[in-house]
């Protein structure tokens, strides 16, 4: 049986579908028996999903003005 430490090392390979069938079954068997590892795997998933929702920085007005100036000169070069 896999140890808890091994579960924490294999969790990304598992999530990415990269574990071979036998290792995948071992992983799932351990999760079925160990609530601490279930919590760990859940927290890793939560972390990844929360990262995808982090707020983005907004475009600073001076950079927007600079890019618009470049846009106008780009338009000019295209005739």
């Amino acid at each position: 049986m896999l140890s808890c430490k091994q579960i924490t090392e294999l969790v990304t390979e598992y999530a990415e579908g990269e574990l071979r069938l036998l290792d995948r079954l071992r992983f799932q068997l351990h999760l079925g028996l160990c609530r601490h590892c279930r919590a760990y795997v859940r927290q890793m998933k939560l972390t990844a999903r929360a990262l995808g929702r982090l707020p983005e920085s907004e475009l600073p007005p001076d950079l927007e003005q600079e890019l618009l100036r470049r846009f106008e000169s780009w338009k000019g070069t295209r005739g």
């Binding site: 990415e16 929360a50 983005e56 470049r70």
Partner: protein, 233 residues
């Protein structure tokens, strides 16, 4: 090998012709699909360009900061990228998403900058030490003796309602090694697939997975340290 003919715009595959406005009354570009914005930018529409830039600035700045930590330099790379986008937009074939295409331009600009400054692009996982959960948390058999405790928030929305948790995640990502930061930025923050991530960073799939694993492990650990003992919300 698509060629642009005269003033014609790239043919959008998903956009009905009626969605491309005439030159007299352009509708607001907010919410317009990227393909429509591209057509309008090529026709010289300033508001469409502004919308395109606003829409993609956040992701581009994040990716630039994965290549160069310094915010001011990252903003320069983003600026260079937009000039590259304007120069190449007529050749954009929409085989990939616009975001992916712009990311490729940014990666090239950032790489050129690295070469000019005689620095190697440090995205390999090689040379990094073994990193993972603190070994002291396991017993001799590798079983938890200090197991993870419930965090309270169990959904991303709930977690992100907490400004402190957002700050912890941002700081944890910023503190990662360049390779880990680049991979987690693309994979988790920007939802880029593993193959494209490897192409953008010029790394192998194994490398990519190792970097992603270490990055997620560290960000989770930072959240755990912060939330440990905190009362559920």
């Amino acid at each position: 090998m698509m060629r642009r003919a005269g003033e014609s715009c790239p043919t959008p595959t998903m956009t009905p012709p009626s969605a491309v406005p005439g030159p007299t009354t352009p509708p607001s570009p907010a919410g317009a699909p990227d393909a429509e914005l591209v057509a309008r930018v090529l026709a010289g529409d300033r508001t469409a360009f502004t919308e395109l830039v606003r829409r993609h600035h956040g992701p581009l700045l994040r990716l630039a900061q994965a290549f160069v930590r310094d915010r001011a330099v990252a903003e320069e790379v983003v600026q260079d990228t937009w000039l590259g986008v304007l120069d190449g937009l007529a050749r954009f074939e929409q085989r990939s998403s616009l975001k992916t295409w712009i990311f490729r331009i940014l990666a090239n600009k950032a790489r050129t900058r690295f070469v000019r400054e005689a620095r190697s692009v440090p995205f390999s996982a090689l040379g990094e030490g073994e990193e993972g959960v603190d070994p002291a948390r396991f017993d001799a058999a590798g079983m938890w003796q200090d197991p993870p405790r419930p965090w309270g928030p169990e959904a991303p929305e709930r977690l992100l309602e907490r400004e402190d948790a957002v700050r912890v995640m941002e700081a944890a990502v910023a503190a990662l090694s360049a390779g880990q930061r680049a991979v987690i930025t693309l994979r988790d923050l920007e939802d880029v697939d593993p193959e494209e991530t490897c192409r953008l960073l010029d790394i192998t799939m194994t490398n990519q997975r190792v970097l992603l694993h270490r990055a997620r492990t560290k960000v989770r650990a930072a959240l755990e340290r912060h939330l440990r003992g905190a009362s559920p919300c």
